[in-house]
Amino acid sequence: MSDPTPTNPGITETERDELRRHGILLTGLEELYNWGRSHSVWPLNFGLACCAIEMIAASMAKFDIARFGSEVFRPSPRQADLLIVSGTVTKKMAPQVVRLWNQMPEPKYCIAMGACAISGGPFKQGYNVLKGIDRFIPVDIYIPGCPPRPEALLHGLVQLQEKIRNQAIAGPDAPRHLQAEGDCNCPIPECGAHDIEPAQNGALWPKPPELVRPTKS
């Protein structure tokens, strides 16, 4: 079977940009499809902590996330494409976050916004704080900062759009929703007697990269 998306359409990027400036669009199916997807990423209206306020600020007049097609904050996960984990995920909250993720239809993406969502951040030594949401759900973009400026969130969103734009629509590199056996439902942890069980999703959280630290006394 031949590749449905030729990598070289016989025209360079600069030439294509020049044509675009004159109102002539040259596009393939993949590009059109991804262009549409990347400019209508609807986030879930879901705030957790401090970063949520910056997320709201990003959707307000000064930063105006509508310029990126993402102003439609959906209250229901069924209508959302993007989960912005904006704040500390506690162990009590983790099952609900995973459930929301499972309820979102494909294609879906996740942004871990702020230090807490990435790694637990300043609260990581707490007994009720999850050390990073990527222990349970796959994260596409990490935005460090405590909290990241609204501009940093917009930058993260642009990175995500870039990622969507470069996804193939067929073949082994295609995103989950185009794969036949693609399944992104993550097992929902349960709150146990001392900790949440399991403490991480084994399929997503393999052993982290080895970090040899000379042992300090």
Binding site: N45, F46, G47, L48, A49, C50, A52, I53, E54, I56, A57, M60, A61, K62, P75, G87, T88, T90, K92, M93, Q96, L100, C116, P122, F123, Q125, G126, Y127, N128, V129, C146, P147, R149
Partner: protein, 388 residues
Amino acid sequence: MNASPFTNPSTGAHVRSVRSDLPGDLMEVSMGPHHPSTHGVFRMIVTLDGETIVRLKPVFGYLHRNHEKLAENTSYLGSMPYTDRLDYLNSMTNNWAYARAVEQLAGIAVPERAEYVRVILAELTRLLNHTCLAGFLMQDCGCSGTPLMYAFREREKILDLFESLSGSRMMCNYQRFGGCRVDPSADWLARARQLVEEYGPFLDEFEALLTGNEILLARTQGVGRLSAALAINAGVTGPMLRATGVNHDLRKVDGYGVYPRFQFRIPLGEHGDVYDRYMIRILEMRESLAILRQAFAGLPAGPIMNPAAKLRGFRPKVGEAYGRIEGPKGEIGFHLVSDGGPNPWRYHVRAPSFINLTILEDLCLGHTVADAVIILGSIDIVLGEVDR
């Protein structure tokens, strides 16, 4: 009216009679922790008769970040940036409350200029909090977008000030034990003064947009009434308490900092309903502007930090202290117990919005679910502080 089977014997709050000709089962609904109107990850288990609330149990802890445990393993200075993240709209007042508790614990004097700067920043924070609250409350009432957008437009201006002074928009980490971290420049003060001058016209416009609006009046007047006796007994503080008509403002009662030098009034409500709580905040903002003008006029020259105050290796003597200030949401206090070590032995936050939630059920009984949302909005909670 029939005696309701759902009267709460301890509080006397009762349910208005519902349509008794349509007997049906009660329904239990879980609102939250992901709900677009619960101001974060707050959950209420609501029992409904039709659409009327007959029972409401708040569920907390979805943002319990172990702030107190972490603070007991960190130095006194190291907890200062964590206080920013308690009530993440009002980092400056949280900083001040914590600094005040430590200053009481260790007996550190604060220079006069620092006290003035603290007042300026606290009142700017009050403006910011109350403006945002009004916006969020309107969002809860259903006017999605416009008021919140105007509120955030003004918030950005105050945040720009905070950022150019402290380096961060929200997490200022600005106060220190015995003063403030950096001295505001003349240029900064001029900008702040200009903002204060422009805030009055903005409030006029904001009020023209909202206060007289008939829909707002219909939604908020008479909803969620709170009696003064219950408010005092339940420890309710801040604008919530003053909306019931109790004249209690720590800026007057304790007279901490340099507040006794300023002329300002305490707005009081009459009915204790959602509308009063909204109006109290609007009026408080106008008083804050008056305080700010006086503070700018009286700001003395001098050091901003007590030179005797230590940054590192700070070990207060054995003892304990409870320090409190009037935050925008109510009385924010820190209870610190020192065993003489570098870390506090016990560090407890008296979070105003957590204790203001004690009476949530009493306020909501007999109202509809839609009203519960705006009652919660009018209490003004921030989950970072409720759950800590």
